[in-house]
């Protein structure tokens, strides 16, 4: 990981910062011209959760039964407790223990 070139790292962070800041300032300046309801609003509202689902889906699907089970239990714990740290630890410990047993 230390082999990454500094230029690429700086470029990535500046790029992330530039798009995020543009969205913030753009939203504020365009204000009432932006649709607050309707299909674009629905799309933007759903994006954060669909990004996260898309991000994990392949690794969970390819992870086999152990990951599938741990994913379900993590989800259940999160829905029950609403706590990130607790639900995450449950999932990680399950995979750790499961791997040790198998």
């Amino acid at each position: 990981m230390t082999q990454l070139s500094d230029v690429e790292v700086i470029l990535t962070i500046l790029g992330m910062a530039a798009v995020t800041y543009s969205l913030r300032l753009g939203g504020l300046l365009m204000g009432s011209y932006l649709p607050q309801t309707g299909k674009w609003a629905v799309a933007m509202e759903k994006l954060p959760s669909t990004v996260l689902v898309a991000l994990i889906a392949p690794s969970v699907v390819n992870g086999g039964p152990l990951h599938w089970g741990a994913a379900l239990i993590t989800m259940f714990t999160a829905l029950k407790t609403g706590n990130l740290l607790i639900s995450m630890s449950v999932g990680v410990v399950l995979v750790g223990v499961g791997r040790a047993i198998m």
Partner: protein, 256 residues
């Protein structure tokens, strides 16, 4: 700095600073204090991100500059997860764009609060808008003001940043991640975050579509582009679903 301004302009600028009769410093402090509880919870999120970042070998300097310059938690989680050698620069930036689109809506809703403010105030203050201090400001009875919003943003930034660094310090003394099942940590963290975003049954289909398209796209597309394909497909499904529901409701109304 104010050399070109008339007294009247200066007075109106001064009055813009004052809100509800209290000075901006008091409003800043109030915003800071009222955001403390949500900032503490953001710090615990930050700690989780810090541990994951150190497992990926990201330095404190890189994470600190990311936290201060990007200052959008969930997109930082996504970036750290996508952090590989060679670095997928373009895919990370596009994922950040997609992830943070909602900030356009959030900031667009602040028009009333920023009304009459000079552009310079907007340029500086808008960076301090996060989900949390925005929500706290919008739910104020007086609809809040810019100083209150910025006070909350400063609170969020301090706690978020400290949480990430603390997480990295903890992460650096932990044994290698694989031995603890930490390779599943990202999946577990994202599942837990997604669960907190659950709004009801209308989410099921978009999420299934997002997962399905991501899995298929991962087979055929290079690098991390499957994330973008999955996210956009899922979001498009949500839009189609809302249009169908809207039409059904309209039909139902006419029948009645």
């Amino acid at each position: 700095m104010c050399s070109g301004k008339t007294l009247e302009e200066r007075m109106s600028l001064f009055n813009a600073f004052r809100n509800n009769g209290s000075l901006p410093v008091a409003q800043l402090r109030q915003g800071f204090q009222i955001c403390l509880p949500v900032a503490i919870s953001a710090a615990s999120y930050g700690m989780v991100l810090g541990v994951l970042a150190s497992a990926k070998g990201l330095s404190v300097g890189v994470m600190t500059s990311m936290s201060l310059l990007v200052f959008a938690g969930s997109s930082q989680f996504v970036a750290v997860d996508m952090w590989l050698d060679p670095l997928p620069v373009g895919a990370i930036i596009v994922a950040t764009l997609v992830m943070n689109f909602r900030y356009m809506l959030i900031c667009a809703s602040l028009g009333e609060i920023f009304k009459g403010r000079p552009l310079l105030h907007k340029i500086f203050a808008v960076h301090m808008v996060t989900d949390e201090n925005w929500a706290v400001t919008m739910t104020r009875k007086d609809r809040g003001n810019v100083a209150f919003l910025v006070g909350g943003g400063v609170c969020m930034m301090i706690f978020w940043q400290s949480g990430v660094t603390l997480g990295q310090v903890i992460g650096n003394v932990l044994p290698p991640p694989e031995s603890l099942g930490l390779d599943f940590a990202f999946s577990a963290a994202f599942i837990a975050i997604v669960a907190t975003m659950w709004k009801g049954k209308a989410d099921i289909l978009p999420w299934i579509i997002a997962a399905l398209f991501a899995v298929v796209a991962e087979l055929y597309l290079p690098g991390k582009w499957y994330v973008i394909v999955g996210a956009l497909s899922g979001s498009a499904a949500a839009v189609i679903l809302s249009i169908i529901n809207f039409q059904q409701e309209a039909q139902h109304d006419t029948v009645e």
